[in-house]
Symmetry: C2
Subunit: 341 residues, 2 copies
Amino acid sequence: MRKIALVLSFLVVLSSCKSEVNPETTAQTADVKMDPLPSWNEGETKNAIMAYVKGVTTEGDANFIPEMDRVATFDNDGNLWSEQPAYFQLFFAMDRIKALADEHPEWKTTQPYKSVLEDDMSTLMSYGEHGLLEIVMASHAGNTVTEFEQIVKDWLATAKHPRFNQPYNALVYQPMLELLDYLRANGFKTFIVSGGGIEFMRPWVEEVYGIPKDQVVGSSIKTTFQMNNGKAEIVRLAELDFIDDKEGKPVGINKFIGRKPVFASGNSDGDLQMLQYTDSNSYESFQLYLHHTDAEREWAYDRDSHIGRLDKGLDEANEKGWTVIDMQKDWNVVYPFQLNK
Amino acid sequence: MRKIALVLSFLVVLSSCKSEVNPETTAQTADVKMDPLPSWNEGETKNAIMAYVKGVTTEGDANFIPEMDRVATFDNDGNLWSEQPAYFQLFFAMDRIKALADEHPEWKTTQPYKSVLEDDMSTLMSYGEHGLLEIVMASHAGNTVTEFEQIVKDWLATAKHPRFNQPYNALVYQPMLELLDYLRANGFKTFIVSGGGIEFMRPWVEEVYGIPKDQVVGSSIKTTFQMNNGKAEIVRLAELDFIDDKEGKPVGINKFIGRKPVFASGNSDGDLQMLQYTDSNSYESFQLYLHHTDAEREWAYDRDSHIGRLDKGLDEANEKGWTVIDMQKDWNVVYPFQLNK
């Protein structure tokens, strides 16, 4: 059954390209009532998403939005892939710092590097999100962007998540992959807007999410242009350029995208300003929060979590009637590798 | 004849969408040998462009480039539209500074603002490109991005170019519009990479060039996110964020696009690093310089110009065999409003 649903969902995408539909196919697909979101259980959340998309894409509807303005932004960590027991980029950074430790003897006695080398996660986490971002950024510098892209790809090909023993980017959410496809099939342009490093995401998000590299907004370190023996290179510097989190998200959206989104999806208080910004769109807009409620299949956390805390955001979602995904209730599968094959 | 050529060129774009071609249309178009670049005279320049595009888009060709990697970047000032007798954004900035002068009495005695208020272009120009950028950025701050977008649109609807008495964005180059269309019809993603202000370009480039707002890279001032009485706003600050010129161009390309272009088009030494960066692509790449040689229909300037100086770039183009457009010789029309209708 599952396989059939997936094949059908692929057909929905195809059929959205009107010129490729012939009457025969249309008749067949109408018969089976294809579901573009097969991993979403029937209920309020799925209905709210589909009603919104139908309204804003129906010409003549009071809420119709021209295709050019259908911008959808998605947080990444904890929203498109998991973020526990720590941001995956942190595991990457720790592996990098260990690999580079011989060149940086001072790290043995300097925090937060020391805790990384000692695998002391609780001390490391005590430095908070900014401390973590600093570690991430510092451990990512001193090479060219070409070299760094290869380092990320090599890491993803070899490193395994401690709980699921899968490559980290196998821990993406199947329902969100379907949502991205569904929005694109309805003329939305999908963007990632993440606190994570932009160059940590670009090497793999295109293949995994179908989101082109130039539709990724994220935190960054500074770079510089160099000509080395006639070869042009962009070199990565150990200096923060931009933190794409909290108030930084609308700022990053305006800088990189230049258009206010109509659809925003996040999972933490770090996404609140992005949702508020989207909510101020003069078009009918949609705010989606993913609430991690599934300790068995994924993780359960919200108001007290060090990572991906969802506290103010949950209150504001309730006040404003934003849509909140209850992972346990709304999703019939979490990861693609859990699909019945 | 001209009208027919344009209609045909529109058909080329349509026919690139394979699913919309029916055998009848194909037969018709094959008969008339449609020219996708009707404003380009036959010759080396046009041949070089078309030979490159044909090679990299032909599966099985040694130089074939997958569609995903077909990134083309275009400078704007002096490359997609004119830049004489001064950058058009400077005329906008001067009009803005005059409009805001009552709120800034100190400008009457402070350079380079004083020269703006006195219409003293030669003193103003003596402050060089960075001085000009500073004036431009400073005159653009203190409002929300929504307000600023409207100010730009209002200015374009009313201001006229001193020589041609046309709206400034009527002074775009017809041959470059055709080149953008031609590249897109061949699967290239087209981007602007300009030293000009990103938010000065975004309000109009989509309509004029067919380049979406999120495919515009440019210089920027800092912004901040604010909630004002429950309404989310991005406010523009009088502080430079990024200068997207010279070495800044490859840095901006890497930051915003995340992929090395295979095709780069510019007209000044400010574009040289972008062309060098593109030239280092492991794919077959194409470098295009526009040489302003037409004093009669546009302007003639290169090595000694204060604006859009093309000196080192011209030498490097000759050394490396990059393609140089001779405007007078290669273009049979410059502006769309000069087309025979």
